[in-house]
């Protein structure tokens, strides 16, 4: 349980103060502060761990890659936002997002039914 904070810092944790918007994959990443030897504090985003992959479910939705497709095409098609391709990359263990659509005919997994419904926050 969070401790009560003083009034002066009450408005620090303001909505929208996070450097990344809600649709970004770094929105939930923790912001750390690194103090350099000369004492200046530098804010940085801590490493984002990929959410655990769901158990190989048989009824998980898949997409068959056709030639010429790119990850952002899939983002637009399934989420209505080309910038949301990273949700599909998260659901498939790939190192480089371009690997997702590199081979036409390959089946790739789509995030579980509802975007963000499960797994994404490691809960």
């Amino acid at each position: 349980m969070a401790e009560p904070q003083p009034y002066e810092s009450a408005l620090d944790a303001i909505p929208g103060a996070h450097p990344y918007p809600r649709s970004s994959r770094y929105h939930d990443a923790e912001v750390g502060i690194h103090t350099q030897p000369d004492g200046t504090a530098v804010r940085y985003v801590k490493r984002r761990l990929l959410p655990p992959l769901g158990e190989a479910d048989e009824d998980i939705a898949t997409h068959t890659v056709s030639s010429g497709e790119r990850p952002d095409h899939l983002g637009q098609r399934y989420f209505g936002d080309p910038a949301a391709w990273w949700r599909i990359a998260d659901a498939n263990p790939v190192l480089d997002p371009r690997e997702l659509t590199a081979e036409p005919g390959e089946e790739i997994a789509l995030p579980d039914g509802f975007p963000g419904g499960g797994g994404r926050f490691g809960r």
Binding site: L11, A61, Y78, F79, G80
Partner: protein, 379 residues
Amino acid sequence: MADEPVGQGPIHLELRMGPKLTRPVPPEVTEALLSAQITTTAGERSGFQMAFDLTKKGAIIDRLLPEGFFDPRTRVIVTAAVKGTPIVLLDGLIVRHEIGASNQPGQTTLTVTGEDLTLLMDLEERTDRYPNLPPFKRVSRVLSKYTDYGIEADVIEEKILQPPNAQRRVDYQTGTDLQYVTDLAQANGYVFYLIPGPVAGVSTAYWGPEKRIGTPQHALSVNMDVNSTVDQLTFAYDGTAREEPQARWQDPATRTSTLLAQPDISPLRPPLGKRATPALKRKTLSGTAKKDRAQAEAEALARAAVSADAISGSGSLDVNRHGYILQPRQLVGVRGAGRTYDGDYYVKSVTHHLRPGSFQQNFTLTREGLIARSDTVRP
């Protein structure tokens, strides 16, 4: 695009229900959902109403209703995702349900009504004493009882510190926890509400000043031809809304009573308009003479701050056209309403109207003065 069942559009809805731990509802329930209406207000309890189609011999009437799936105190969580970004709209409990049986086929409906999780705090009256605890510590102690529903407390120390002294005064709670916490918030010019999210099953109980600072949400555009995102927007300017509280306080040692100075409300409510509304009314607060000086000052401040919002706006928007879900209790910009009424506003309340194929929002905005402080709003 007639491809995969992952989504038919950019907006997805997820409904979770269960006694305390929720899980996604069976597909029969999702298919039967006719409409959902969710109201969220700063400083007040949120409520919801959902209507389901009740087909004869359907799963709901045959199995789920008798099993108690829609019984009172069942927890409901509604999550909406716009363009793949999930936002928890509601975390609440069912209070009542109604069945409208009709002779017309397809007109029989089940209506479920409920409130957000603060209902839990309003169920039981208790008396409790809090010796030597300032208001914010009393609030955190009350809130710590509700962690098993995933409620985390976010409590801010009060603006005018009221150091307690058990030798002179011990504060008592009578009534429900919610009443007590809300009363304490009002006495300090604060608000108390529950923020659902960021993930299903978790929510934050916030006790502190209204958050009228920070990056505003994407601006509402009105009267801008094809670029308008808001269907209609009405502004009202109530000159008598703002009042100047007069609080007298008596020094117990010397028996002299003094009129307290007018409090400065700008730390509690950073001004959003350039031309502040003058206070037309003078209101004498009763009962402040016998309180502690800090308590009397806090009450005068709370009264001055709460009455400061003279300008209110209301309107409706279509989420599909706007592209974002308007969130309550945050700032938002308005453009296209003219020099006087453009600028940033605090979103006081939002009502979500969801039905298959449409997502409408009604909202109310407030601020304390006319004319925008800056030339630009966040697009």
